[in-house]
Symmetry: C3
Subunit: 343 residues, 3 copies
């Protein structure tokens, strides 16, 4: 094992840092290459049950970690210990917990973090495998998919201490990291074909689950809402910048594609212990996982970042934009004649 088992006394002596969580698509401040040895990284997840607009027509009661869908991205290094404070404020209506795919045992910690409204649990787990991993609420039985499809999921990135490599001996660097959480919502309609509105968390349980059994969502969105990552919310970069995209879907398969680009490196199954794919046009994220994609932008302009089931993209909502500044490169692409011109 790369990282030896430590005793409780040894863990108590490790440096402790508090990770400042930020709302996606942003990633918390972090070192791409670790400085020093393992740390205890403290994170706080606070459950917020809240009304949530999906688009102009549909709204639901979302269940969230820290008020965002997806929950905040956590970034640590292999060998670190993550100490999670899981708060369920008294104002909430439902029981929650958290299952980390990156953690070992006790249903990923789900068995040790059940909190009723007004309760707080604290769990420590060790990051043993490098990669990107989903976390999500999993209170038991049908409540597991219900909480997940209400938005209660996020991701952890466990970086190798020495940083990323291409699996062929070369380091991979990046200038920024974005986190896209793709989310399926199942909003039931009434007999007139209008989206139903509910006022309390859990009130729509039977209608939502009946619809969900059909496995076809009404909405499939990035970062919680149609249009969350377009316009004002668009991601940005400059020509020459290297961007690491973390993409999670806690329930359904999806297929991230950057229109006008093609991943330089893709850790599609999310593990940094794999040799990354190179030059993939489109990836598949296994439902219930997070993958990582690296791209160095070579052209300016607006890129659409989509789920390339194009029906899910334009009709269900899975579209983001990436606005890139810089100089156009004619060698890579040149408009010889514009439509409308006589050739």
């Amino acid at each position: 094992k790369a990282f030896p088992s430590l005793s409780e006394a040894e863990i108590a002596k490790l440096p402790r840092v508090k990770q400042k969580m930020v709302a996606p698509p942003f990633a918390p401040e972090h070192d791409p290459v670790a400085k020093g040895g393992p740390k205890v990284v403290e994170v706080t997840l606070t459950v917020e049950e809240m009304p949530w607009k999906l688009d102009d027509e549909a709204e639901t009661i979302a269940l969230t970690f820290n008020g965002s869908v997806p929950g905040p991205l956590i970034v640590v290094h292999e060998g670190d210990y993550v100490e999670v404070t899981m708060e369920n404020p008294e104002t909430n209506a439902m029981e929650h917990n958290v299952d980390f795919h990156s953690a070992t045992g006790a249903l990923g910690g789900g068995g040790l973090t059940h909190v009723l409204p007004g309760e707080t649990a604290v769990l420590r787990w060790k990051a043993t495998k490098p990669g990107a991993f989903v976390y999500h609420c999993a209170p038991g039985g049908s409540m597991i998919p219900y909480h997940v499809i209400k938005g209660m999921n996020g991701a952890v990135v466990v970086l190798p201490r020495d940083g990323l490599t291409d699996g062929r001996g070369n380091p991979i660097t990046y200038d920024k990291m974005y986190y896209i959480g793709e989310q399926d919502f199942y909003v039931p309609k009434d007999e007139n074909g209008n989206y139903m509105k509910f006022t309390e968390a859990g009130e729509d349980f039977s209608e939502v689950m009946e619809l969900a059994r059909g496995l076809i969502p009404t909405h499939e969105v990035f970062n919680g809402r149609v249009g969350a990552l377009t316009g004002e919310g668009a991601m940005t970069a400059k020509v020459g910048e290297k961007v690491l995209f973390v993409h999670s879907q806690a329930n359904r398969d999806c297929r991230p594609h950057l229109i006008g680009g093609h991943w330089n490196y893709s850790w599609e199954a999310g593990s940094f212990d794999d040799v990354p794919g190179r030059g993939h046009e489109t990836a598949i994220i296994r439902g219930g996982s997070a993958g990582v994609f690296h791209y160095e932008f070579e052209q300016p302009g607006v890129y659409a970042y989509v789920n390339h089931n194009l029906i899910e993209a334009t009709e269900l909502g899975a579209v983001a934009h990436m606005v890139v500044e810089g100089e156009w490169n004619d060698d890579l692409m040149k408009q010889i004649n514009k439509g409308g011109e006589t050739v």
Copy 2:
């Protein structure tokens, strides 16, 4: 080619062994590393058309190999010859055959094994590629999906003669092997919304196929029934044991995930000629294939093994349990404060 073509006379001189088939999730006795050279391995597949309870509400007439869904796991070594006796007892109503994805030519043997009730066919095929492969009935046309979604499929594991490796020069060992066959069922409902019951194999053909055309199953289960691998049927291991999971789905994509674990090695596409993935949280099984996953258990407790489309898991039935005994490791995970306690 690793294994030279043998003449009929040479094959006649090979040692012959009869593989004792066992019902899944168990695997037949076998040597992880082959002792000696190629053998002829005899297996018998007997078709059983039988009433089949899926849960408290739904039942169907299943079409099975040897009375289980999935059919029995076959385990051989690369270079072995498999001699299959395919029996269709006179008491059955339908024609059947068997297509081995691991076999070469004649539609995987499907073209050479058609048996009407009362008939028996014998087919020999050579295991040329190491990996896990689906076998299934494929009598022709719409009968192909009908027989497959009625349960008539199983898997073969073709081990490298020298055993498994991590693709980086290191052998991989295992203490036990489990076989999970994931199965989609399409049980039609009547006008009152109750599951329809039929009494004869093939009687529900048009209703089932009309429903199946919609591509959304009513049930998605492990080993034939909701709950087949929980409670009494749960799989077991001890901390420190290495378990090899073979997972097949003969028709639909699915995404095996072990809650509280993460595959040490995953041959997701089922080939032992690939370098296995490491540290994957969730895999995707391509519809019509079998994959293999290796995990060394590090913590005791109950693990849920699910299809991580969580709706398919809890609502459609794709949940199994793994009960693991041993000592808890605080280094990997520790409950610092329980919900309900004041922090």
Copy 3:
């Protein structure tokens, strides 16, 4: 970078070749290993909006590149420049464009190739990454999936200049290349359950898109029609021949499987910069991508090439045939006893 940026003057001096496009499943004439340095390869894509029979019952108005579904395969080498003439004849009704997944910037060229009926655009892009890539029409918003699910997509193969390798130092050769474009169609039905007929391109937009939102196609076919690649249209080979299959699906995931064979090499995600998988029974094509599969035929007979969701294969149309001539090999498979015989 392997291929340095060239100035406009340098590009002007490169050799120019016109690629003669052929209808799928055939591939254009090409050199598996490039002779000489980069070229400018001229291709012409002409949009044809046309009535299109899917089977005996359903027809639609297809939107096509060059009158076929999928559009013609383009084959170039890494480092080549592709100069695309995109023609939208005056007789058409709709605006079109073309987005190449293999191109860099401007939405894959989609932003620079919008053509109204009567217009022609010319775009040049450089093939920088080796692999198989989808191209498709993407005029904007809901018109993107509409044009794609009406057939307006094809593929480009960018070969490494030195030819294919197995990623372990050995060259991979092939005797022929076939191109299978898998296509989902969504044909709406009227209140009597009959497929609706329309007469003009775009007239069925709202009905098709309403149906498409449900994500379940009415047809899933190879090369545009049920049965396009069976009977007269079957693909052919001889025992000992090596065939390279290029398989694209511009929208939905699919799972190519050759009944009776198993890929020798599979570049499932479509990149020739990946180490190909070996011995895969079934692949998954991510919706919005093209993959490549290599098989050397070892047995004569009829092979079915299917999407191994068998419901999609036999009920929705995703079946092709491969007719192979040569000598049967008893070592690989032998019928010991035929069904019907007493054993």
